[in-house]
Symmetry: C2
DNA sequence: GTACATGCAAACCGTTTGCAGCCTA
DNA sequence: TAGGCTGCAAACGGTTTGCATGTAC
C-alpha cells in the first residue's frame, strides 16, 4: 500500500501523507510501519528522498527518473526542472572544484512567475 | 554574545554551538534566548540561515556575503563556492523558466576530491 | 509602572526505537 | 519453532511557546 501511495499520489509525498492514504484502506496501520517500509524501499533503491524545505522528508519513486525542483517560497508550488538544465553546473563543479556533485532531486528556492510581482 | 559567537566561531554555526559558547561566558543563559536572538537577527537581515543536511539550521552573518556550499556526504567537509559559479544557473532559471531563484547559501551535496575514490 | 527580555519547563513535530504479540514458513 | 513484520507507546532531537520573574527606562 505504501508503494501504491507513492505511485498514485502527488509526486513528492511525505510519510504523513502516505500514512493517511494507507489508513484509509486499513485503519489499524501505524506510521512506524510506513517509515520502516520507506526505509526498506530506500535501501532497495526504489525511492529517493527530497527535502523541499518544509521540515519533512518527501519521497519519490526512483523509476520516475531524476529531476530537480523549483520551490516557490510564496505560494509553495513545486515546479519540476529537467535534469539537463543543471548538467552544466555539474561539469563546472567537477572540473573547477574537483567536487563530484550528487544532484539528484536538488531543491532550489525562489519565486515563481506568478508570485514574482 | 550571540553576535560575537556568530562572528568568532566557525563559518556556519548551529544554535546549539552558539549556545555552548554563550554558556561558557554566562552559565545561566538559556537556549531559548539564543533562538529568540537569532530570530531577531534574522528579521533585521543580519544573519541568514542555511540547511546543510544534518537536520539542524545553521547561521551565517549576512555581511560576510553570499556564497554556496559543497557538502561532502562522506567526510562532512564544507567547501565554500563563490557566488558567481552559479550565476549562470540563475540566468537560465530566470529566462527559461521564469523562476526568480533565491540562491543565497545553496547547499549542494556530493563527494569532495579526497573522498571520490 | 510599563514594556520588553530572560529563565525555566513543557509542548511541539517529524522521526526512530524497544518491546511484545502475531503470522508465516 | 524460528524469523520477521506489525502495532503500540515511548523516546528522541531540534525548535518553539506559555508563563512568571526580572530588569531597564
Amino acid at each position: 500500500m505504501v508503494v501504491e501511495a507513492l505511485h498514485g499520489g502527488a509526486d513528492h509525498i511525505s510519510a504523513e501523507e502516505i500514512y493517511e492514504q494507507v489508513r484509509d484502506r486499513y485503519p489499524y496501520a501505524n506510521i512506524s510501519t510506513v517509515y520502516r517500509t520507506l526505509e526498506l524501499l530506500k535501501e532497495l533503491g526504489l525511492v529517493t528522498e527530497v527535502e523541499l524545505g518544509d521540515g519533512r522528508v518527501r519521497y519519490h519513486p526512483a523509476e520516475r527518473g531524476r529531476h530537480h525542483h523549483l520551490v516557490c517560497q510564496k505560494c509553495g508550488i513545486i515546479l519540476d526542472l529537467p535534469e539537463n538544465a543543471i548538467s552544466n553546473l555539474e561539469d563546472v563543479l567537477f572540473h573547477e572544484y574537483g567536487f563530484q556533485a550528487d544532484l539528484r532531486h536538488l531543491a532550489i528556492f525562489g519565486l515563481c512567475t506568478e508570485c514574482r510581482n
